[in-house]
């Protein structure tokens, strides 16, 4: 198949890339744009390591075609960084709580949790409970931490966010 030219907006920057029509968003972000924080895990939408935000909503990078992201805002974890690559407060919580060991699952965990906390705030609900966080993260696999510290980190961030 011939490659096609795609105009993608990723982490607030415009990119033009040549890709096969069958290329997934994961392929293009990782291989063409060099975003190492979007990762191939299972290719089936189960593990969450390729999570990106498409117009603010978590989606599977491995199950979305790059061409489908044209005209959308794509956000990877790197897009959360502040000036001078300052860590996002949720990333700070992950560090403080030891919620990131090998780090492979961390971008997916961070983006999914952030969406959950933001959604609760926008809907005027209480911050998500530990059980609600567990449910939201069921599709993000971690083979290191045993999840406890990840839940601790997200709860700490949710408390912080609720105070603001």
């Amino acid at each position: 198949m011939n490659k096609i030219q795609l105009a993608l907006t990723v982490n607030g920057r415009d990119h033009e890339v040549w890709a096969q029509p069958s290329a997934t968003l994961l392929d293009v972000l990782h291989d063409e744009l060099g975003l190492a924080d979007v990762r191939y895990g299972c290719g089936e939408g189960l593990c969450g390591t390729c999570t990106v935000l498409l117009d603010g909503e978590p989606v599977n990078g491995c199950l979305t075609l790059a061409v489908q992201a044209v005209g959308c805002q794509v956000t990877t974890m790197r897009g959360l960084l502040g000036p001078d690559d300052a860590l996002h407060p949720l990333q700070e919580c992950f560090l403080r709580r030891g919620a990131s060991q090998c780090g492979f699952c961390t971008p997916g965990m961070v983006l999914t949790s952030l969406d959950l906390v933001r959604r609760h705030r926008e809907q005027g609900r209480e911050r998500p409970s530990r059980e609600e966080i567990r449910y939201a993260l069921v599709g993000n696999l971690c083979r290191c931490t045993g999840y406890t510290k990840i839940l601790d980190a997200v709860e700490e961030y949710a408390d912080q966010a609720a105070r603001q």
């Binding site: 069958s22 997934t24 939408g45 969450g48 599977n60 075609l65 489908q68 959950l116 993000n140």
Partner: protein
């Protein structure tokens, strides 16, 4: 694994999608949410030459008219969970979709895509059966309405013709004195159901007898299936006591020949059907009684 290369075209409307599908034949596939099709491509279980993306074809929200809830085929699972019209008129869907995939799958996955995929463990398929839903299919010769009972033809197979596309799902809105329930057994949350049961029950005006009861099962055959109405009704009409419910659930489970595979034995699946069906019928009857009392 990586999907074999294919070509891609975005369809601006359903008619264009039908035209492309008619000329592409077996080598073309419709891409809706992509949460089942894309894994099949990545695992090379399917290798179409052309994907026809219908996502640009339709932006309609759910709507209600004439006692029917109309869900456009591209309605995402998240919308089923959160939309006021779905929660009010079809609470069964809003509840059952919690069990579908994970947050990313629910953000992209669609009701039309799920029904067309026809997975035999489908939560959405079994709910469609229990609710007496039907789909609107558009093909080269125009539109036709297919009841859910006639849609599922076997493992990952539907009654849709090769050039037909589902455009809408039609669901009778919940009536007074109608109750519903959904139960499933999984090893881990978000797994495919080992067995799932969707029940919809309607009581008479005195709220003591069952007028109609529909029980749909997933994970027990090569497709989602509706339990024979006679098996439920015979015992329940005139009484909704625990013994009647248990007897009905036992009759339904006794008739099944569920698959025996690595996930569960046939005997375990049959037992799950008996336990979960009884639980679902009891809950549906209780909800129907409460709904009738509130009306």
């Amino acid at each position: 694994m990586v999907a074999p290369a294919f070509d891609y075209v975005a369809a601006g409307g359903y008619d264009e999608a039908v035209r492309l599908l008619a000329s592409g034949g077996d080598d073309a596939k419709i891409l809706a949410g992509g949460q089942s099709l894309m894994p099949m491509l990545n695992l090379r279980l399917a290798r179409p030459e052309l994907l026809i993306d219908i996502n640009p074809a339709d932006k309609r929200p759910p709507s209600v008219a004439g006692g029917v809830l109309r869900l456009p085929a591209l309605t995402r699972h998240r919308v089923l969970l959160e939309h006021d019209l779905v929660r009010k008129h079809c609470p069964l869907f809003a509840d059952a979709v919690r069990h579908v995939g994970n947050v990313r799958v629910r953000n992209r996955g669609t009701i039309g895509g799920s029904l067309a995929h026809a997975d035999p463990t489908s939560e959405i398929g079994s709910c469609a059966l229990a609710l007496g839903a039907s789909v609107v299919a558009r093909g080269p010769g125009g539109e036709r309405v297919i009841p859910a009972e006639e849609l599922f033809a076997g493992y990952w197979t539907t009654a849709l013709d090769v050039a037909e596309v589902i455009t809408d799902v039609l669901i009778p809105v919940a009536r007074p004195r109608q109750g519903w329930s959904f139960h499933e057994m999984v090893r881990r949350t978000s797994d495919f159901a080992i067995v799932a049961v969707a029940a919809v029950v309607e009581l008479d005006e005195s709220a003591t007898a069952v007028v109609s009861a529909r029980v749909a099962l997933a994970g027990v055959a090569d497709r989602v299936t509706l339990a024979d109405a006679g098996l439920i009704g015979a015992g329940l009409v005139g009484g909704v006591g625990d013994e009647d419910v248990d007897a009905a659930a036992g009759r339904i489970a006794g008739r099944l020949e569920p698959p025996d595979d690595v996930h569960a034995s046939a005997a375990y699946r049959r037992r799950l059907v008996r336990v979960l069906t009884a639980r679902a019928l009891r809950e549906a009857v209780a909800r129907a009684a409460a709904a009738g009392a509130g009306a």
